[in-house]
Symmetry: C2
Subunit: 208 residues, 2 copies
């Protein structure tokens, strides 16, 4: 049976799951969630995910949330992007770091700066978060110095997690030009056959 | 060889790793990091962890950061707290959720409210984060309704991750009395033989 991925284009967390499925050849289809119209807060959606968030994957009896858990499932099913067995903890470490320090804060800051009405954007919070994010970009850029990929010598879910929000053009304080190692690594990812920009891969809730 | 855990008492992320080691009987010793005096930013510490953070575990040739990765290593080494094999993704999902939504934001908010000089505490950011955290407590409390543990029928690293900041007494907007299911679950955790409060388990950088 074909797995279902509940997602929408603006979610970098959904993008991590969708891109991992797409590049690994995992058999799935997308179900658009109209997040900006409140669909994630409906009872029907909360029956699928009480956390009220995307992404959600449903594969037979298994319902799974959190992009990193879905990515691990796709790794286990397809044998792709898990890295060498000896790098298991290193891959997990980067996925956790991304959830802790990078995507969580980038996703929130981008939301506040772009998807809230202009008069409701908390400028103090945005400034504070941008400072925290700078520290995260700096860690990522340093980790990529002299390396092609975050772990080992091929693309893994560590890369496919950390890049989740970094292909979006909406301003949130990230400029590829400031971070040459991140910039080159994003180009390596987008040069991978089958790669798609988030807005080409998933339906947008708020088309430009 | 005995593993080393670099930690300090105020870090809930270090606590997750230390508590998992302690309760599982994993062979380890603690190395105190004087975080508030800047030790995590020294070259000597950054040689161990370029991210400049605790916890760090060193076991033979393996150096590992991120509490969730260290917890997974302890699970693999001891066979404890991993839950049933069929619950693997469910455990991972909660560890990721904790990193994404709970501990990351609780740790930061508690830091801003308690460990910054009073005149440097960004009140707008603190208020905003407390609102986000309320949503997280609400998800956790609902998930624990009618359950003893987050996943399956025994304590796992899902529990040992999500509880990371919730035993601390410093104010950060979390009151156990507001969340009865969380409250009862924290009592179950602290009733576990061998359990220790973070300040009894690890040396404090800023003793009361």
């Amino acid at each position: 049976m074909t797995a279902k991925l509940y997602c929408f284009g603006e979610s970098g967390n959904a993008y991590k799951a969708a891109l991992t499925m797409e590049l690994s050849g995992f058999d799935y289809e997308q179900v658009f969630v109209d997040f900006f119209k409140g669909e994630a807060r409906t009872d029907a959606f909360k029956a699928i995910n009480p956390m009220g968030e995307v992404p959600v994957m449903v594969d037979g009896d298994l319902t799974l949330t959190q992009s990193g858990a879905i990515q691990q499932y796709v790794v286990d099913q397809t044998g792709k992007f898990g890295g060498a067995a000896s790098d298991k903890y290193e891959v997990l470490r980067w996925v956790l770091w991304d959830n802790h320090k990078l995507s969580s804060q980038a996703g929130m800051t981008r939301f506040l700066m772009n998807f809230l009405p202009e008069d409701k954007r908390p400028q103090d919070v945005i400034g504070f978060m941008q400072g925290r994010l700078k520290a995260a970009y700096s860690v990522l850029d340093a980790a990529l110095a002299g390396r092609e990929w975050l772990v080992g010598d091929s693309m893994t879910v560590a890369d496919l997690s950390c890049c989740g929000y970094l292909f979006y053009e909406e301003p949130f304080g990230f400029d590829r030009a400031d971070w040459p190692n991140i910039d080159a690594w994003l180009t390596r990812i987008s040069d991978t056959p089958g790669w798609k920009h988030p807005y080409d891969l998933m339906q947008r809730g708020m088309p430009a």
